[in-house]
Symmetry: C2
């Protein structure tokens, strides 16, 4: 049976959830068929009887669930004959460390640069909710005030990416010779940024561009959606 | 046969190499007997026919080598019947990512706080070499100038440790339920700091203290050497 994946999308139906992206990659990693169902921010509370507040949400026959790590665990348990996302408990634990690092040090910085872009690309009907919910986290600033002078934040983002560059100087993927859930986490973040972000985040000569190209090519170009230039 | 591990020590023969510490833990992880041979900075070029410039160095029968990751790989290959340090290529790749992160974001900041302490604890005969080689990296500053006002660097170090706290909020070790090479990398860094550093690096209520206590207790208290307080 085909798994259904609810995907949070912007006005042109491109995903704007880095967390959905990692599950798209996880499903492809396991070689499982899936269909995506595009939804807006306002639709999420109406899905699956209102059980979930965030995407990704999957439906697999009678099973439904959200939270990307729980979904990855489910897929490994339900489809043990397919390639493992986490082959050992240590792989899972280290992916969790990577997730924390990438969220705290990288995605938070991307958010500070692209949050107004997300708003501007969201469906018109989602924009008031998006603005209100995000501005509530910004200590009284509007999205415009928060992102004013955002170019000045780019060098710090590039600097924060040094540990990824160090790992990728020794291997083509964060997982080594083959991509791992850590790669999917990071790819999801960069695709999320590139979907909306009108300023390039990486320098043209950043070695991460090579990894990014390899990643976007995976699984028949799964990540080759329309993106703003990620480097310049 | 007992493996010999050359250990870089200070005046009281306590190790001052975070890289040797991770190999002590790796050897204990594999349940291999080893004896440490304490050496000073000036002794390293005289060992093993002058082949190596850095510790850790191991001698295992006719085999000798340095570089901690190469040693870990060797131990897994030479002793496949013992618990694996890296059970899968992905575990190794993610340990490498962790190593890059810990070096760039944590040990560099520890170094900026404790480099004069290392000097002051080193064997008298090693102090001139240590000062000269480290000051060459400090853009013309003396160790004293470089560490002046070092307390001001502690908040940034504590902030940089957030990804470790995030991972350790979900599991007792970075490796999950059991310690991994990432734990040994981080333990080595904290033991290195605690051996010499006369200012506490962590707040008293830092959750990392619990992990640190668990880590120091591993393998019959391998890390329970005389340390300055790591938190206050």
């Amino acid at each position: 049976m085909t798994i259904r994946l609810y995907d949070l999308v912007e006005a042109k139906d491109r995903s704007i959830s880095p967390f959905v992206w990692r599950i798209k990659y996880a499903l492809a990693h396991k070689g499982l068929d899936f269909e995506t169902q595009p939804v807006g921010f306002g639709d999420i509370p109406k899905l699956c009887g209102g059980k979930y507040k965030t995407v990704p949400i999957i439906e697999d026959g009678a099973v439904s669930m959200n939270e990307s790590l729980a979904i990855a665990d489910y897929l490994d348990k339900a489809y043990p004959d397919r390639p493992a996302i986490f082959a050992t408990p240590q792989e899972r634990a280290m992916a969790r460390f990577f997730d924390g690092w990438f969220g705290l040090e990288i995605m938070n910085r991307m958010f500070a640069i692209n949050v107004l872009d997300i708003h501007n690309h969201a469906r018109t009907s989602d924009q008031p909710y998006f603005r209100q919910s995000r501005e509530a986290r910004l200590g009284g600033k509007t999205l415009e005030q928060f992102t004013e002078g955002r170019e000045a934040k780019i060098p710090e983002l590039r600097n924060a990416l040094r540990p990824m560059r160090a790992a990728l100087s020794a291997a083509p993927f964060l997982g080594g010779d083959a991509p791992s859930y850590a790669d999917y986490i990071a790819l999801g973040g960069f695709i999320w940024a590139g979907t909306v972000c009108t300023v390039p985040l990486l320098a043209a000569d950043d070695k991460l561009n090579d990894w990014l190209a390899r990643g976007l090519d995976l699984y028949n170009g799964l990540g080759r959606v329309e993106l703003y230039p990620l480097s310049a």
